[in-house]
Symmetry: C2
DNA sequence: CGCCGATTGACAACTTCTTGCCAGATCGAG
DNA sequence: CTCGATCTGGCAAGAAGTTGTCAATCGGCG
């Protein structure tokens, strides 16, 4: 077998981001991407070109699918990016569930993001047909159960506006009564907002919500 | 006035870490440092030399004072580093309070860490005598109210060992009863450990604890 | 061997949070 | 102008978390 049909492990963003950028520019039929945030695949850092650059190729038939966690919609920058992908002709869906961060290119190459180890993240670049097929199936399943961006964005647009202030008072460690007063809301309404934030973050406890908010750079 | 007596603003770690490294090697009488974590001043990333390199100069009379947040002692690497500074002849104190991250060199230069802005941190490098004096005074006040490392470390040594597992179940979002069972503890004991963690992190709510744990890289 | 200090687990009181329900207010469409 | 939809705030029930107290256990020390 040609040695391109292997699994390569790449360590660190400096290594993986140029490869992704290259793969994105050479993709012919399909780019499918699942991300918990806009950092993993070099989008936030600008390592990958803006979605506008894909528009002509989408018009020519390139299929672009982006699957994101709902939590990222709480960040105005991320929300704007996701909408830009949609405007460029890409298809964007949102899920509240934790995602296995994945990229599939042309049904032939799959990139899977591993765990952080000593501050460095590993990525597996796979070209074995059976493995790529399996990863594609998993992606398709997650895609099917997700919700269109427009539906989610309508829901979180207002929440996004007040999310920074809510997260700030939550992160200050004070009680709901104090937080509500600080924001000029009733306790009930404040608690509604917190519940919405937790739902958007996919968090089952306030501790978990704090961790996720921090991970997403919302705090 | 010589233009060295100014305030310079430096943006980004790549800029500030080499300067700090240089200042550390040229310091004559005193290095005072306050850090909320071991990342801000380039310690965790290795940009600054290990504490052993200071030992000969400490023996010659260089005074090294390090003031850290109690939360960092939950990280074995950080705890080891702090103890190494102490072993090298430095003086290390611990506070549960939030710190204004500062370095003072020879009572003549002060470096203050600002807030993150768009993922980049600003640092102010100050040589104006009056300002440096004021910063030194603030540092001294925080130093006086802090506790020796040995006292704190005795307290958190056992907590440090089980902190990863506790933080992991906390971050999973499950209830205390479930978490306790997962760790093989009673609910009361689990809650004692969580309370100790929150105290070490200086957190008043679980949400705040989640944020701080994530910031410290404990999760 | 006995005593003492530390720790654990059970129980409980209290606080804080989660969510449902309902009345009233507001706003937009017909 | 009316009506329906939506949101807010108050109230409340229940769940989850916080902390105190006490009895039991264990290990170390004299």
């Amino acid at each position: 077998m040609p040695n391109t049909e292997t699994i390569a492990v790449v360590r660190g963003e400096a290594e993986i981001h140029p490869r992704i950028a290259h793969l994105f520019t050479t993709a012919k039929t399909e780019i499918s991407c699942a991300a918990n945030d806009l950092h993993t695949w070099g989008i936030r850092t600008g390592s990958v070109q803006g979605p506008q650059s894909l528009a002509p190729r989408i018009a020519e038939g390139l299929v672009v699918r982006k699957l994101y966690r709902s939590g990222i919609l709480l960040d105005p920058l991320c929300a704007r990016y996701a909408n830009a992908v949609q405007s460029a002709g890409g298809d964007v869906r949102i899920t509240p569930d934790e995602l296995n961060e994945t990229i599939v290119i042309d049904g032939r190459i799959a990139i899977l993001a591993g765990d952080l180890s000593h501050g460095v993240r590993s990525y597996s670049v796979v070209t074995v047909p059976e493995v790529v097929q399996g990863v594609s199936s998993l992606y398709a399943a997650a895609w099917r159960s997700a919700t269109p961006l427009s539906t989610w964005d309508r829901r979180v647009a207002e929440l996004r506006e007040m999310a920074p202030r809510i997260l700030e008072v939550l992160a200050s460690g004070c009680k709901d009564e104090t937080a509500a007063r600080t924001l000029g809301l009733s306790v009930r309404t404040y608690r509604r907002r917190v519940a919405e934030l937790m739902a958007a973050l996919g968090a089952g406890s306030r501790f978990q919500a704090g961790v996720k908010a921090r991970e997403l750079g919302l705090i």
